[in-house]
Structure formats: C-alpha cells, structure tokens
C-alpha cells in the first residue's frame, strides 16, 4: 500500500491532522492569515486612515495569532514524534 492510499493521519512524516485537533488549528491559522493579508491588500488599494490603521493593528493581530497557532501545531507535531 503506497502512501497515497493511506489516511492522512498515517502519512509518513506527516501530522495526525486527519484525526486530531491540529488540522482544525492549521485551518484556523490559515483563515486568520488570509484575513490579515486581505486587510493589507485593502489598505494598499484604498489608502485611508481607517484602512491603514486596520491593516496595521487588526491585520498585525490576526497575523500574530496565526503564527502562534502554527507554532502550537509545530510543537504538537514535534512532541508526537518525541523530538521534544
């Protein structure tokens, strides 16, 4: 059986994203990051004080949250592999 036929949770070298909570966290981090990037694009295309502040403050907070969530997933993966 090659790795293509295996459930995601059993893919060699992968996370247990198919069954665990980490997949949801990665998706959440991705959504937050996409929202932050959209705010940044909006502020560039429609450069007003409000859009600028939104991109720098809310965009920064969303991006920071996405990074933290991804760090959590990376740590969980490393612990699962008994690296940490």
């Amino acid at each position: 059986m090659n790795s293509r036929n295996l459930p995601v949770s059993h893919v060699e070298g992968g996370w247990t994203i198919g069954v665990g909570w980490t997949r949801k966290v990665v998706i959440l981090a991705s959504v937050l990051n996409i929202l932050a990037l959209l705010l940044i694009i909006l502020s560039i295309l429609n450069f007003t004080p409000l859009s600028l502040l939104a991109s720098v403050s809310i965009g920064g907070a969303l991006m920071g949250a996405a990074i933290l969530l991804y760090i959590v997933v990376v740590f969980a993966d490393l612990r699962r592999r008994r690296v940490l």
Binding site: I41, P49, L52
Partner: protein, 212 residues
Amino acid sequence: MNSFEQSVNAANGSGLSLVGWIVIILSFICIFLIIRIIVQDPKKVARPFGKWLLLLIFFVLSPMIYLLNFSVAVEDSKTVEFCNSCHIMNGYVNDVEDPDSEYLASMHYQYRWIAGDQCFTCHSDYGLFGNAKAKMTGIKHVWAYYTGYETPIELYDTYNNHICLRCHAPVIAFQEIEEHEENASEILSNEMSCLGADCHVRTHPDEAWREQ
C-alpha cells in the same frame, strides 16, 4: 494641475508604488498557496512539502508582507492628500492649495519652500522620535475624528519654533534680521512664538475647520 506637474507626476509614478505592488502580488501568492494546500489538497498539509510551505508562508512571507506594508503606510501617510482624507482638514488643505492665499502655510506650499509632504514637515519634530511622535499623534487624531472632538480644533501645545528653525536658522536672510538675534534665547526656548500678529502672519485661516 498644469502640464509640467502632470509630466513630473507621470515620471514619478503617481499611482501605486513599487513596494505597494510587491505587497499585493506577494499577498495574492500567499493566499493562493494557502487555499490550494488547505482546501484543494488537504493531504498536502500532512506531507513535508505542505508543512514547509506553510511554515515559509506563516513565518517568512507574511511577516515580510506586513513589514513592507508598514513601510508603505509610514511613508504614504505623510502626503498632503492623506491628511486631506479627513474632512476636518479640507479647509486647511484648500487654503494651502489656493494660489491667492497669503497664509504662511499656503506660501510654503505654493512656492515649494517645502518640496513635499508639507503638512507632515511642519507638524512633526526632529528625527526618528519626531516621526514616531507625529504618527502616534496621527492615530490619536483618527480616534478623535471618529469619536468626537472639540471645535475649533487647536494644537495640543505651543508650536515648536525648532520646526521653523531647522530650515530657517542656517539662512543668511534670517540671521540678518535684528529681531531674530535680539530675541534668540526666547525663540530657542519657545517663550516667544515665531507665529502671531507681532511677528509672522498666521499659518492657517482661523475658520478653516468649519469648511468641510
């Protein structure tokens, strides 16, 4: 705008800056890759390639985009057009751009005694901390704009003479005026303002805030 100005603006690229374009293109690439990994092919997330790609997007590309956007925001928020995007500033900017106005700010703008970013140049202190302070004050202004403010609008403090002096102090014509030399200590300590009826004319019309 005359044909000379149009020509200069066209040469300088009056639209989006290069950094702005880079931010937009990188952002779209990141969004496309994230959606492709997460939605179209979720198994990729579990494979080393997908993991590393997301790591690159989250830890390198996205922070880089944020910092580039920050630099664009800092630089582009210095322009007169940006200041004029709050309606309370319309009267001030209209006067500044009026060729018949004899107010000090307008003269500095019309004759290009200040080459660019005229509002920011006269309303920010020296150096990096001056810029940072001006930006913090700008955030305060945006907050006040949406939550309410007292009229007529006024400066928080006495105008800092050093902002005038950073350009005028080295000028021989300025140094040759006796009143400047006689009152040097008062001018330098801000006890005597450069602006006002006794010395230089007012910078903006008193009722400019009404024009919105």
